[in-house]
Symmetry: C2
Subunit: 290 residues, 2 copies
């Protein structure tokens, strides 16, 4: 496995392979790799000839009071996972390389970033959109893979690629979960034993909402109430949002008649967790004759 | 010459040539081509194997009260010029292709766009940065050429390409002028005979500033006053700005000791004209011994 740190080396590696019609897959990460990342890497490995994983803790997507400095950085372990999974290049740009003096460009998607994570973390999505555009420029992949766990991020990246004609296919892979339903996340390491115990209630609440929809409940507000009621049983959880939304626009649905995404964010102490589930409303029954 | 209207056709043309290591040059335009564009195209022709000119009147870079609808669109004449100059592809995307429903991404460069044209036309540079990013994604050139006449735009594009790692070399070519010094611009066709008579006073004022600097004047404010005094002689001109600036940051210089760019914008009736000159301060004389 090559470890590449400079943009020039990364781009010339990719350009050479592209001239040889090699299909390049890309999994951008902030490191602290877990089985969710592993699943992305494996899926990319199956679809591509050459595979790049980037590890870059992107300060631009953290707010001033967020967890940038304590974000986990187990680089040796991350590289070992990449090697195990047959990654060709581990791309590890430094902050200086990514954001040199004079850097100022910002990429924003005002509609898709307006609600939910965008509202809770106003720096987040401009930071994500900008770094993804940059990484795609450096790595020049044919295909890039993102996890469904960050649903709004994946939706934003899809729209970004379409809007800026970046020419990269985006594949979003299902969330990988612990046995008790907790969505895997690099931030789960922050949870102490008590917090870890209650954390799966987020996914339980989402499942409550999913089951309500599958059972025929259509009213968005009622579905949200059922989820809040479910999670109220858990101690020490502060709900930021639990919402039933259009899976493309992420706007809340007053009535769930087709596909929906249920988005949730909670805080346990100082730790913020997000999760989501896609759901299909049951097919409408044919109307009884009058 | 190919006329291409779709993104897919444009990108696959370029990708095929890139795989064959053909060097692709690109001159993005809003049409209404004049000898300034011709000089860009000729310079590109000399440096590249394959040459794309785009013609797209980009509504995103016009303000709500600007001249979008009356902007000249002499497409047959433009294509003839491209054919004459050996252009390989005339890329003519429509507004629907460029900005389909749901489009929302905006690329901004807050520092370089803060002053001058960015202040006078707040929609302008986000529109330029966004469309240039998109066009580079569609055309995938190795080299793109811009005219010095739009100095701030060229500076913005350079920074954009660097910041987003777009991997396109930017070449800025000197402004082409009419015999009386007026910088060529598609907007010059708006000038009636009287307005056309006074229009060259903008370039005369800039030359006054240049000569003052070359003559040893260092004080930025004094140089600006000399330019204002020069242009006061012309009737019917409203000066928007005449400024001596750092050629990279575009911040005004209080003292001109090295390179500078003199930027100017005027209005004649409803027509806005801009121009600029690069200038080198004379080398500092060695100090007399005391």
């Amino acid at each position: 496995m090559n470890i590449i740190r400079t943009i020039r080396a990364m781009t010339s590696w990719s350009e050479r392979l592209r001239r040889e019609s090699v299909i390049i897959g890309f999994v951008p990460t902030m490191g602290a790799l877990h089985d969710g990342h592993r699943a992305l890497i494996q899926a990319a490995r199956r679809r591509c000839d050459a595979l790049v994983v980037s590890i870059f803790v992107n300060q631009a997507q953290f707010g001033p009071r967020e967890d940038l400095t304590r974000y986990p950085r187990p680089i040796a372990k991350d590289r070992a996972l990449c090697r195990e999974e047959g990654v060709d290049v581990c791309f590890e740009p430094t902050a200086d390389v990514m954001y040199p003096e004079g850097f100022q460009t910002v990429v924003t998607l005002p509609e898709i970033a307006r609600r939910w994570e965008g509202e809770a973390r106003p720096h987040h999505f401009p930071g994500v959109a900008t770094v993804v555009t940059k990484l795609f420029g450096m790595v020049r992949p044919h295909l890039a893979l993102f996890g469904q766990k960050d649903y709004q991020q994946a939706a934003l990246v899809r729209q970004l690629v379409k809007d800026l004609n970046l020419g990269v296919e985006i594949e979003v892979r299902p969330t990988v979960r612990e046995a008790d339903g907790l969505a895997m996340s690099s931030r789960n390491v922050y949870l102490n034993a008590d917090e870890r115990m209650v954390a799966p209630w987020l996914s339980r609440a989402l499942r409550t909402g999913k089951q309500a929809i599958e059972g025929g409940m259509k009213d968005g507000a009622a579905i949200e109430r059922s989820m809040r009621k479910a999670i109220e049983q858990a101690p020490a959880i502060h709900v930021e949002y639990l919402a039933v939304c259009n899976p493309d626009s992420l706007e809340p649905l007053s009535s769930v008649t087709h596909r929906a995404v249920i988005l949730g964010a909670i805080r346990i102490g100082s730790i913020r967790l997000i999760d989501n589930l896609l759901v299909n409303a049951p097919a409408r029954k044919s109307r009884a004759r009058r």
